[in-house]
Symmetry: D2
């Protein structure tokens, strides 16, 4: 149930912010759940590995890992196994975030591993041709995030609208099914609206929510912007 | 309480074995706890990241992470933050396991980060000079594991006793405090006894226990061998 | 002149074989040049970084680097700069060989850097979808090399013909210009013929030539097979 | 002959600066040679991989690689083989420069490989304990370079004298033979003098020389400062 994608959607990346670590990860996920229930918008959260299970047990909204490794069960000390992530109750994973980039063959391998384990694969990309390249590997979600805008508060949707529209155009040539998100610098409901107007199906956000004084208000603002679009 | 090292000791590395994933990680940790309580021997377990919290909540024996990253809180998607590990109830971490090797400067950084967060640092090394090199960085535990013996069932203590004794000799020239363990191929109580006789203060083990039909029996065998030494 | 691609073609990867190091790299390149002149077939050689200049000065056939880094001039100790490679007389570079894999964003960056410096970009890929993904990044050459066949003497063209034909089919949907090669296990003229018959425009080879008792004979055999196709 | 270390000494790291690429690498090496001959001071140069051979053929002063990989001859496309470096006429190599850091076990492996091939090993380190750690691996040269000062023009010798003296003190406890250099921010003859006064046996420099309008003048200034110390 949890695992069915229902765009338009919002994914909140908790990164390794202290404001979204441990108990605070659970609290933040609950605020996302509240906003999701109130608005009906699909909101997923991506906490740190060690927090996934507690978050997945505390909320009914979808929980993603921030990364999984291209490995099978066995001798892989310190790596992240898809089976282990799945058993925590997570339903998906980010892949190739600009802060955790992977080799091309590994992106392909992890998308396949995710499929085998019914995990939603959300691959992050940095420009339109790379997005189109990834589209060929058939992930469930492609999220374009120009790395130079991450954490700046300058939204990709308003600053680089052509990056977003070109991504959509190139991806759709080869892949009609992947959900297309955008991220980087998304700070206001208006940024979300512009992102959706450009043709995306939602946003991947982090600091604007995680580091907000009142995260619920911002999540709700984003969800409302998504809804009224 | 949990965090005080009491050698002789045994650390069980769960790696990414399915036999030690999710609920099975908790079960295995409970068997280790049983053996520890019965024998009084310090036994720690190192489950996968996503399982640390559930394991730490289920048992009173010390729980280690298998790795942490040389990062501070912030924008580090997909990385392992010391603060997050600590908040799960873990008391230490493996560092530089041969399956998760790190750059030299990162080993140094993670040992310092571990100290700042009251996490026990257990650095894995592959030969005596490298062990001595690491000794200078003052980790709490140094565990020598010749990579060519890992998973073979051929014990480092019987196959390469001189690697073990040379490690102890070289390490002690510069560091009198670090606990010295050995690992790789440890399969029988006898291997543990030999390891202790050579001067180590315990063992780091994985497959011999995790993949055993009856892990408790093996853990108990190892703990008894440690005790009667 | 040197830099114009003229398929069908053969690229010989010298890897780090001693048989193709230093003076032996120059000798081997001369044998490739002889076969190229005699048959009219485009044969390029890819020696180690330190040998590129001597090889490029000794022969008139095209010389490729085995890798370049996604960097600009500056503080990059120990890295491979496109400008430096170009100044040696090399005309192209391998990218993302299975023994030197790169992050997706870095493959994209190096293809662009190669274009800026008039270097032919030859990206190695491991399966058809990855080949198609790379096609979107518009390299000059795409060479499919299933890693499990590299160095086996079992030719990709005879063992995995569908990998080759699927690659061609998928790549051509998005890219009509890239030269498509295949590699891995190519050992006999017959393997080359099959590769061409499947629709490739040549082969990327290594051990079959470099480790041959009489490399010239094998190069000539491959060139003849390419010609009579 | 070339390979005998004669401290006090200066190593000039060409990095990937355009001012030290191709023909300019040879020219710069000649200016270093001129200063070396005039002053009798041991001055080595470390050009990019592709330039090593031309530089080594053009000058009589020692030439270093900027990095070698922990590999043996064979299937290692895009890697740097010690044997190949040696055959160019290079006599040594930098290892673990802060811009090309290595795993601990790889540093150990490369130091051994360098010894086997009569190449001088110069390991770069970032702080005193790491320097002492490396000392146990018995490289020929240890060069401490606090990364935060690299390229700043603020000299390690004047800014962090205690980092230099602590390095010497810690290294000498375990290793009496390694030559100890310092680097990072060395810009003036005075910085060199201070470095030698603190007890080092020379400096590892880059931008101050490579990016100088008149590199010879600066090299000569450094060599004179080394001599009159």
């Amino acid at each position: 149930m949890k695992s069915k994608l229902q765009p338009p959607m919002i994914i909140i990346n908790f990164k390794t912010y202290l404001e979204a670590t441990g108990k605070k990860a659970v609290e933040l996920a609950k605020q996302a759940e509240k906003a999701s229930k109130e608005t009906g918008i699909y909101i997923a959260v991506a906490p740190q590995f060690v927090d996934i299970k507690a978050v997945a047990e505390a909320v009914e909204i979808p929980v993603f890992a921030q990364h999984i490794d291209p490995i099978k069960p066995g001798s892989n000390t310190g790596h992240v196994l898809a089976e282990a992530v799945q058993q925590t109750g997570a339903v998906g994973t980010l892949i190739n975030h600009s802060e955790r980039q992977m080799k091309l063959a590994d992106i392909d391998a992890v998308i396949k591993i995710a499929k085998e384990h019914n995990l939603i694969s959300c691959v992050c990309t940095s420009n339109p041709p790379i997005s189109a390249a990834v589209a060929y590997l058939t992930p469930d979600i492609i999220s374009i995030e120009p790395p130079e805008l991450i954490g700046t508060g300058v939204a990709v949707s308003t600053e680089q609208p052509e990056a977003v529209t070109n991504t959509i155009k190139l991806v759709r040539k080869v892949n009609n099914e992947a959900v297309i998100l955008c991220g980087a610098g998304i700070s206001h409901g208006e940024d979300v609206k512009v992102a959706l107007k450009l043709g995306t199906q939602g946003v991947l956000v982090a600091s604007a929510i995680v580091k907000a004084k009142d995260p619920y208000t911002i999540i709700r603002e984003f969800a409302d912007a998504t809804k009224t679009h």
